[in-house]
């Protein structure tokens, strides 16, 4: 047998194999994963969706506003972390990603695979938080699963936008700055992401209403609102979808560039 006679391998097969590796590892770490990504949304649900309404400080109807935001938050938090954290680790001291970079596919596919795995992990987290939130908050007026195609589209596009953002953050930021990433990028993004209030509500503070449009989370929250609680005020669906596609393109471009810089010298 000569070297050249080794049969070629279909890139899709390699892609699937690497994805399977990520899902195997993710399945093993599921409890930690859920704590990392679902605990914060669930704590908010306990306080704002259960305690405060019980005390009469917030009308119970607030849970309708809040539920889509909480689902959006768990989707995006887990998508971003599922990519950014392993990237920081893999390109750090251990260089563990090397065995995948040596697989017989163009290296950008290794990055795209990470984003795909981030989307899947985001979906798992959202699917976990939704019933838990319903359990804690009780009946949610206006909740509907009637628009499943839109729900699916927002979930996949939102997950992809934030996984791609995780790719960029994970490869573009030095591991020492990971704490900074959480406090400077994630915390403001969560607070100004229209997760706990609808975008329309910001009409009372017009400056904010326009400022928050640079926040990618806004489109996922509003998208979830349009899909899960369509009677609530929400952004036009077309605007949401277009914004998400633009965000995916932007973060994929930045992320692939940063990934390539780390992977090849």
């Amino acid at each position: 047998m000569t070297a050249a006679s080794l049969p070629p391998v279909a890139p899709s097969r390699v892609f699937t194999a690497i994805l399977l590796r990520d899902l195997t590892v993710a399945r093993r770490e599921l409890p930690y994963f859920l704590v990392r990504t679902a605990l914060q949304p669930i704590l908010f649900v306990v306080v704002f969706g259960f305690l405060l309404p019980k005390m009469g400080m917030i009308p119970h109807g607030y849970v309708t506003t809040m539920l889509p935001g909480v689902v959006a938050l768990s989707l995006t938090l887990s998508a971003i972390q599922s990519v950014a954290l392993p990237m920081m680790q893999d390109f750090g001291f251990t260089k563990e990603i090397e065995d995948r970079l040596l697989s017989p596919v163009p290296i950008y596919l290794v990055a795209v695979e990470k984003v795909a795995s981030g989307v899947l992990q985001g979906i798992v987290s959202a699917l976990f938080v939704l019933p838990v939130a319903r359990l804690i908050m009780g009946p949610i007026p206006g909740l509907s699963f009637g628009n499943a195609p839109l729900l699916l589209a927002v979930t996949i596009l939102g997950g992809a936008a934030f996984s791609a953002m995780g790719l960029y953050l994970g490869t573009g930021i030095a591991p020492q700055q990971i704490g900074l990433m959480f406090s400077v990028i994630l915390a403001p993004m969560i607070m100004f992401g229209c997760t706990y209030y609808p975008w329309a509500g910001l009409s009372h503070v017009p400056v904010m209403k326009w400022l928050v449009l640079i926040n990618p989370l806004v489109y996922v929250s509003e998208g979830m609102r349009a899909a899960l609680t369509p009677t609530q005020p929400h952004m036009p669906i077309a605007l949401i979808l277009v914004a998400l596609v633009i965000l995916i393109a932007l973060f994929m471009w930045l992320g692939l560039k940063a990934f390539d810089k780390r992977a090849m010298s």
Binding site: M1, P8, V9, P106, S265
Partner: protein
């Protein structure tokens, strides 16, 4: 057919960016040309050869292996590995090579056997075949009892074996090893040598970088001596040793500058060359170690005190010193 061919290969790393600090004077501008790691390198390694790349730290060995394994971009020139161009067809190259890194980098989220099975599936091998082959490889490399262990539970030598097993899962024809024995204890090193000899006997091409003379001498069919990215010599270990000057290299380190002692040494009978590098006096002697007392006297006559004495018999090492002016380690 050649397993590896490079033509006028050159790699220049961009000069590191110098950050300006407020208040501090601007540092001198770095040379715009960057750092040359590989310089006009032409190599041809025939199929089935055990090829050694010998050089001190920083010689460009790791960069060369990085280029040949598609992990470092070429600045100019060309490299063809196992019939595929590393820049134009990197995926084809990767399909046909196995790489053992300088520092073991197993997938720490997976067990030992999973490291092999998953890696094999990245090359399109079915899970069943990969599992069977993985166990075979662990058996052959003597770590079968560790199959289900976490990789953190392996010793350094065992991790290195796991890396070799991983490099072999997809049955590559060319295997690259970047200083595989660094950090291994003598016993682990010898057993690694055995494994490498066996792989070579199977007809695989092996490219190994090292800075250990003995290792290169014992294992390699041919050796390239490189320093500062340039090829200095290329031949069989025996032919290279024959090229070594017939002199013993005597090095005497004094407490201060040795140039006056070198002048005296040059006039001595049986000295073919003498040089001073700071406090180091290096003498190429035709009379072996016999000159040592006279060299010590020469230094002490100048008021110097001897700190260290080292003697190297004619070998790859003395050839290396002659070629590069430095020692390997």
């Amino acid at each position: 057919m050649n397993a590896i061919e490079t033509r006028a290969l050159r790699k220049v790393y961009p000069a590191p960016a110098v950050k300006k600090r407020r208040g501090a004077p601007a540092p001198p501008a770095p040379p715009s040309s960057g750092i040359v790691a590989i310089d006009s390198l032409d190599l041809a390694v025939p199929d089935g050869e055990f090829f050694g790349v010998l050089g001190p730290n920083g010689a460009g060995k790791t960069t060369l292996i990085g280029i040949l394994t598609t992990r470092v971009r070429i600045t100019s020139g060309e490299a063809v590995v196992a019939g595929a161009n590393v820049m134009a067809q990197p995926a084809d190259v990767r399909r046909r090579i196995g790489v053992v890194p300088q520092r073991p980098n197993p997938d720490r989220s997976l067990s030992v056997i999973e490291n092999l099975v998953f890696h094999a599936t990245y090359f399109g091998i079915s899970r069943a075949d990969a599992t069977r082959r993985g166990h075979e490889l662990l058996e052959r490399l003597g770590i079968a009892d560790k199959a289900t262990a976490k990789v953190d539970q392996l010793s350094g030598g065992q991790q290195q074996r796991l890396m070799i097993a991983r490099a072999l899962t997809h049955d590559p024809r060319v295997i690259f090893l970047d200083e595989p024995t660094v950090g291994l204890d003598p016993q682990a090193r010898l057993s690694l040598w055995e494994i490498l000899r066996e792989l070579h006997a199977q007809g695989r091409t092996i490219v190994m970088s090292t800075h250990y003379m003995e290792e290169a001498d014992q294992l390699c069919d041919r050796l390239a001596i490189i320093d500062q990215g340039k090829l200095l010599a290329l031949d069989t270990p025996a032919a290279l040793k024959a090229q070594a000057p017939g002199d013993t290299v005597v090095e005497v380190t004094f407490d201060a500058d040795a140039s006056a002692a070198a002048d005296i040494a040059r006039a001595m009978d049986g000295v073919s060359k003498a040089e001073a590098r700071g406090p180091l006096l290096r003498v190429f002697s035709k009379r072996g170690g016999e000159l040592i007392p006279a060299l010590i006297d020469a230094g002490e006559a100048q008021g110097r005190v001897v700190r260290d004495i080292h003697l190297s018999r004619p070998s790859l090492e003395t050839l290396f010193i002659t070629l590069t002016g430095r020692k390997l380690t």
